[in-house]
Symmetry: C2
Subunit: 322 residues, 2 copies
């Protein structure tokens, strides 16, 4: 492979930095005036950065004054026309998206940065209280036009199936992990502002569903939420978002905030304690309403003791050796 000018491109590093406060899952965004929000991001510097991740860490450090703990690469997007503000403008940028987890300690010091509830960008993803009204009132009707606009019957059937599967219509259950699939479907159908911005044909049925973000940042955030919702079930990553000690209800509320669904309290306890993920501290929480709850701490040792600790998915794989 020769270093040809044709093969030259810039790499953007973007981070979806998540934290949870009370019952609200937050993402750190850069907000300037009346423009769309953006994720913290910066270019990869092949001279200064030893690895992509170290590049991201230094960038985020400069931009947000945060010291990231858990960081995980998500996906690399390179679609033409889905990064620059207007198609054709600016350089071709390939963007590598990351998920980072942290806790909120003190106020943010960096200018123009703030924590925002991520359901502002994805209002159809929060099923904790009830099925979001926007699905039945706006999304489903708008999709009907999208299905009708298909080129032929086969294409229409395909679209209908995708919609049913993604949004859990008919007898299909809601799958909280399909965050990215749902966003991409809305994008294709022209129902999010990014579609119109990127000049998509379908954007005729344009609906401003959720808040728009700059570049492909809402796509990265969707990927981040999807990954986190999935990963929570087989790796104890939630604890990156928890303080040193917490009640089991606080832990449950954090998981619920992320997954966007409610959980069965007693079974959640059984699972968390049964896995040996936490240990009691003996102390009890004070500022509660009912009976005081015991404070627990995360047993970091589990990461070393047993390989497959999970907060959800079943160990048995059906494909057991024999």
């Amino acid at each position: 492979m020769t270093r040809n000018e044709k093969h030259v491109v810039a790499i953007g590093l973007s981070a979806a930095i998540a934290s949870v406060v009370e019952e609200s899952p937050n993402v750190l965004v850069v907000h300037r005036g009346k423009g769309d929000d953006a994720l913290p991001f910066g270019p990869f510097d092949p001279l200064g950065h030893r690895t992509l991740e170290s590049g991201l860490r230094t960038w985020v450090g400069e931009q947000t004054y945060l010291d990231l703990g858990y960081v995980e690469q998500l996906y690399t997007f390179g679609d033409r026309g889905r990064h620059t503000l207007k198609p054709g403008e600016g350089a071709r940028v390939v963007s590598v998206g990351y998920l980072a987890l942290t806790r909120q300690r003190g106020a943010l010091k960096a200018p123009d940065t703030l924590w925002r509830d991520w359901y502002r960008y994805f209002p159809w993803e929060d099923w904790r209280d009830e099925k979001p009204a926007v699905i039945g009132e706006a999304i489903a009707p708008a999709f009907e036009a999208f299905v009708k606009a298909a080129s032929d019957k086969a294409a229409a059937d395909l679209r209908r199936d995708r919609i049913r599967l993604c949004f859990g219509l008919g007898n299909i259950p809601w799958d909280e992990e399909k965050v990215l699939d749902r966003y991409e479907l809305l994008y294709e159908a022209g129902l999010v502002a990014e579609s119109a911005r990127d000049g998509r044909a379908e954007a005729a049925h344009f609906l401003p569903l959720g808040d728009c973000m700059m570049f492909d940042h809402r796509r990265i955030l969707a990927t981040a939420i999807a990954r986190l919702r999935g990963k929570m079930k087989y790796r104890p990553v939630v604890f990156e978002l928890m303080p040193a000690s917490f009640t089991l209800l606080e832990l449950q509320r954090t998981v619920e905030a992320i997954s966007g669904i409610r959980l069965h309290k007693q079974n959640f306890r059984r699972l968390v304690e049964g896995q040996g993920l936490v240990e009691g501290t003996g102390k009890v929480s004070v500022l509660a309403r009912g009976r005081p709850a015991e404070l627990f701490r995360f047993r970091r040792e589990v990461l070393r003791e047993r390989p497959g600790v999970r907060l959800g998915a079943r160990q048995g794989q059906g494909l057991r050796s024999s």
Copy 2:
């Protein structure tokens, strides 16, 4: 973000193309003379390629004359010194790795390409017949030196724990999905040829474990195998590797070839049939030794019918809504 010369870098697209013949999991490699094998790869062309994946497809098409079906992005690597042949030489390249699945139909027509059993590169990963001897005879002893070479006791303990977890020593069970973790550990410990090539300090205990590959291609292949072993359990991707009709034993042998472990025959049947993943064709296989087996075909409809079809991992997530 301005288009600064500092921020300019080449993007390499590499594909781990997998197929299974009989009981052998194969990967397509480019083999030229006595040099190390490489994966098919080429640079991303920001002018000609609309997306990263379409770039990969055209590149692979030109290089191998194969028309890829299933393609999935794996990871983007950008570590300094882990791509170029000698540290400091050549341009900085960020490489995006892909996994592709296909079937072998006829001989390969492209020059210098051939199918190779992937356990040639990872001899410690094949547990189908027995625990690979290389683990007890070469890997475990070499790791002892690696542990001793740690800077202090805490670092040594950390290394020991990682080794136990990765290679299933002591009472830890073998986890066939940790392919990448194991390779990275061997790389860090200087036990694969790439360590010495990249000029790592630890490479003192250099052991030529498995066949070496060019650039970071063995790392990408490790990622591909790990992803495929995991994904098989919750998505019916194996069928991309199967002919139109097959016996259940052939299907099982394919899964075993990939995962590197043996499965319980009766339970495998129960799972596959219970999930409605296959349907009988009425015909029976001929060239067998014992009682003829019925030929089955993949029920493609399942992809559209139910969301969570899986060939392994449990649906129930322990985190059920309520």
